[in-house]
Amino acid sequence: MSRVGASGRDLSEVTLEAVRENEVVMADLSIHSDTLEHQAKVAQAHDNPQLAANFRRAAELTALTDEEVLALYESLRPHRSTGEELDATARSLEGRGAVLVAALFREAAEVYARRGLLRH
């Protein structure tokens, strides 16, 4: 499990030779969602439920591209998104199974509205 990258490739195949042959991509060197779930359990066992929650959100984000993740980050910054946009993002994330990240967006939508952090 923790020997397999997000691409599904086993680490034993990621050698210097493979790199030289242009066979290795960043997704081979990225963590797999199953590994993040495992690390979440370890964090939980070491008295850090919030770190575990972080890893579980991260597990959902492994399915998104770098550009998508960066765009999600941008959209949560002050005055970047309207309430509707944040809710739409939440729905879209739920549709892709990223329910924990979606919950973050729903929560943000509600708080931002109250604190004047939305874009108008």
Binding site: L16, D47, Q50
Partner: protein, 749 residues
């Protein structure tokens, strides 16, 4: 009071000129947030839960009045299963739990997890400095302490960055932070530092501190192996001014984890006051909000201890104490503590040492979050608390106290070789990837440089162009690995690949994770701190203890012998047994047993022969005759002088020890008395020995001697010379032979 204002008396004018008086000190002003602990405006701790268990009041604020920081903490940052019990604990009871080595870390953390920011702040504010130390020793997450270095330079010179990164790794740093005076250079810096670090050691983590989104992007491309400057603030206004919210930071935190990249957040007391938005609260309370937020967000660790605003904290009473308390608070929340001690908070060497020392002695996950391993002028974060000029100091202090601050002595030859290899590797990779071509001159200058001022060949366009190409062609760290491999740097290629592969395993995402030199993860999980009083907790391994003790300045008696032997000469010739003389103008010079045998150089730097020739010349100036004898029965200067005086026709003798101490004696005096004594051998010079000879001559003739001005020095004579004295006395003792008589020596000058 600055040094330009006139002071009525010289003593105060002198004091005004001292460097600590360049620091800024503020009268406590709670309204401006210039207060370390317990501002009147700090809220009363409180936690009220509603009927469905959600928080309806926290720290005297109703949920309906929560700002976004309150909101996030209330929703995510409190363990509500222990909150009632934790909030009911008295401040002193919790403070005692922190200090008492018999109360486990786990137990302390359990309570802290249910405490509101105001509660934790108020309780920890009760701890005195020594108690903070006891708390820190127990509460840090990782057993083995470590240290982080800054590696930057004014020119973003990739060759110098690599050489300095290799150097930092050689000195034991396990994390390296770089940054850029020119933002666009960032990817080039990340690559150059990563290559240099890989040359220096396996498993050194590298970050490039820039703007949040850019840093994440570089992480995604593998150009950095961790991130740190994900900033948090204690007030809503300052947070928004920083263009983020707790939710965006949460997404960012998870984004790093989603790629398997380690990260920690950054906060630090004083930042809100510095930005004029402290809302009248104390620095420590506001920092408590940041730390609660860090925990709520799900970061594994925090860099705090003032950081860029450390000097603001340092300006108020108890401010330095609050900086250490911040680190303890992080540890109490089961987070990795990267303990500040980075931004320079004082112009005074004495004061900046005092700020760090208690943390070094107690031990943190990282003693500093940015030891400036380069020179001050090259530190693009601004000078650090500790810089290249302080590395030997830090190593010596580790040894003085017998503590592990993460650093080790690096052998000069080894560092030179590492610097060369690092520079060669970057040159090869940059050429291979079409990023830049470095001249031979630039290479040689970077290797030998003590700083960027020594690299005249460097130009600012090179890293800019390189970075642009990296960005535009989408170069990732995989390309760098390939380039290293193809240009013959297989070791470095495999080290960087290994670091990338660590993302897949995810073990280094856990709390307080570093890699050791065998690429084992040391973290809360694999290397938990188990301090529970004397005899427990972290102890350096024998190898590590040797590293700490074996500083490059330490000398053995064998080293000293070798130093002495260099000055050996054949001017001394043994004549035979020394007999009493009858010439009233004769002054006998008695030398110690090791003279002419194993001691040739005195402590002042003059050779024994030079000292002797001055004594003899002084005697000659007074129309006297000098005769040299060697006493073997004792090394005592008084006795040597007296024995010489008794052999002397005039009744006057000179005693001279190999280390350089000398006196004038007279045959009728008791051994410990003398006519004149030079006791501080390191301060002597040729003219003083000449004068001693002249005065001995005058004593012999019954004339008036000239007073010798005791040589003045504000050197730390003892610190400089006492170890040598011990060794020299030991050598003398070897030659002491009570059965040998006094030998007459002929000295051929």
């Amino acid at each position: 009071m600055n040094s330009e204002e006139s002071s009525p008396i010289g003593r105060f004018r002198f004091m005004n000129a001292q460097s600590v008086n360049l620091d800024g000190f503020a009268i406590e002003d709670a309204k401006l947030g210039l207060i370390a602990f317990n501002s009147p405006a700090d809220p009363q701790p409180s936690l009220v839960l509603g009927s469905d268990g959600e928080v309806i009041e926290m720290d005297s604020r109703a949920a309906s009045d929560f700002d976004m920081v309150d909101e996030f903490i209330a929703k995510h940052g409190l363990d509500l299963t222990v909150a009632v019990e934790a909030m009911a604990l008295s401040d002193l009871d919790f403070a005692r739990m922190v200090v008492d080595p018999n109360i486990s870390r786990t137990e302390v953390l359990r309570m802290a997890a249910g405490m509101t920011p105001a509660k934790l702040a108020r309780s920890l504010s009760r701890l005195r400095p020594i108690e903070l130390g006891m708390g820190m020793a127990k509460l840090r997450a990782r057993r083995t302490p470590s240290n982080q270095a800054h590696v930057t330079n004014r020119s973003d010179d990739p060759l110098l960055l690599a050489a300095d990164a290799a150097t930092a790794a050689a000195f034991g740093f396990r994390e390296i932070e770089t940054t850029v005076p020119v933002l666009a250079d960032a990817p080039s810096n990340a690559i150059a530092v990563s290559i240099g670090a890989a040359v220096g050691s396996r498993g050194v983590l590298v970050q490039c501190s820039v703007e949040e989104a850019l840093e994440l992007e570089m992480g995604m491309r593998g150009l950095v192996s961790y991130a740190e400057t994900i900033s948090l603030y204690g007030t809503e206004q300052v947070f928004i001014d920083g263009d983020d919210t707790p939710w965006s930071k949460t997404l960012l935190t998870s984004a790093y984890a989603s790629r398997g990249i380690k990260m920690r957040v950054t906060s630090g007391g004083g930042s809100e006051a510095l930005m004029g938005a402290a809302e009248g609260r104390s620095m420590f309370y506001l920092e408590a909000r940041c730390v609660a937020l860090a925990r709520a967000i799900g970061s594994q660790g925090v860099q705090n201890g003032g950081i860029d605003s450390a000097a603001v904290a340092g300006s108020v009473p108890g401010g330095v104490r609050s900086l250490m308390a911040e680190n303890v608070m992080v540890m109490a929340r089961n987070l990795e503590a990267c303990a500040g001690n980075d931004a320079l908070m004082s112009e005074s060497d004495v004061r900046r040492t005092s700020r760090t020392l208690p943390i070094l002695l107690a031990g943190a996950d990282f003693i500093t979050s940015g030891f400036g391993s380069i020179q001050r002028y090259d530190n693009m974060f601004g000078p650090s608390q500790w810089n290249a000029e302080d590395i030997d100091d830090f190593l010596v202090i580790q040894r003085d106290w017998g503590v592990d601050g993460g650093l080790r002595t690096a052998d000069e030859g080894n560092v030179a070789a590492l610097r060369r290899r690092a520079v060669d590797a970057v040159r090869a990779v940059y050429r291979h990837l079409g990023l830049a071509d470095f001249t031979d001159e630039w290479v040689e200058q970077a290797i030998d440089a003590a700083g960027s001022k020594d690299v005249l060949e460097s130009d600012l366009l090179t890293p800019l162009v390189a970075a642009r190409i990296i960005r535009e062609t989408g170069i990732t760290m995989i390309d760098v690995v390939r380039a290293l491999y193809e240009t013959g740097f297989e070791i470095e290629a495999s080290r960087i690949l290994e670091m990338l592969k660590a993302r897949v395993a995810g073990d280094y995402l856990q709390t307080a994770a570093i890699f050791d030199e065998s690429f084992n993860v040391l973290s809360l999980v694999t290397d938990p701190n188990d301090y529970a009083g004397p005899g427990s907790g972290y102890v350096p391994s024998p190898g590590r203890q040797t590293e700490i003790d074996a500083i490059r300045q330490q000398r053995s008696v064998a080293d000293l012998r070798a130093e002495q032997a260099v000055h050996r000469s054949d001017v001394f010739h043994l004549v035979g047994q020394a007999n009493p003389g009858s010439d009233p103008r004769e002054v006998v010079i008695g030398v110690s047993p090791a003279v002419g045998r194993d001691i040739w150089l005195t402590l002042s730097g003059l050779t024994v022969v030079e000292a002797l020739s001055e004594l003899l010349a002084g005697l000659e100036e007074e129309g006297c005759v000098g005769r040299v004898v060697r006493v073997n029965a004792t090394l005592d200067l008084g006795m040597i002088g007296l024995l010489a005086a008794r052999l002397s026709g005039s009744g006057i003798g000179i005693g001279l020890q190999g280390k350089g101490t000398a006196l004038i004696h007279r045959r009728d005096l008791s051994p410990l008395a003398n006519l004149e004594l030079y006791s501080v051998a390191p301060s002597l010079d040729a003219s003083l020995y000449r004068l001693l000879g002249i005065n001995a001559g005058r004593h012999a003739k019954g004339a008036t001697p000239e007073p010798a001005r005791n040589p003045y020095s504000d050197e730390a004579i003892e610190a400089r010379y006492h170890t040598k004295v011990v060794a020299l006395v030991d050598i003398e003792r070897e030659h002491v032979n009570p059965d040998s008589g006094i030998e007459e020596l002929r000295v051929e000058l």
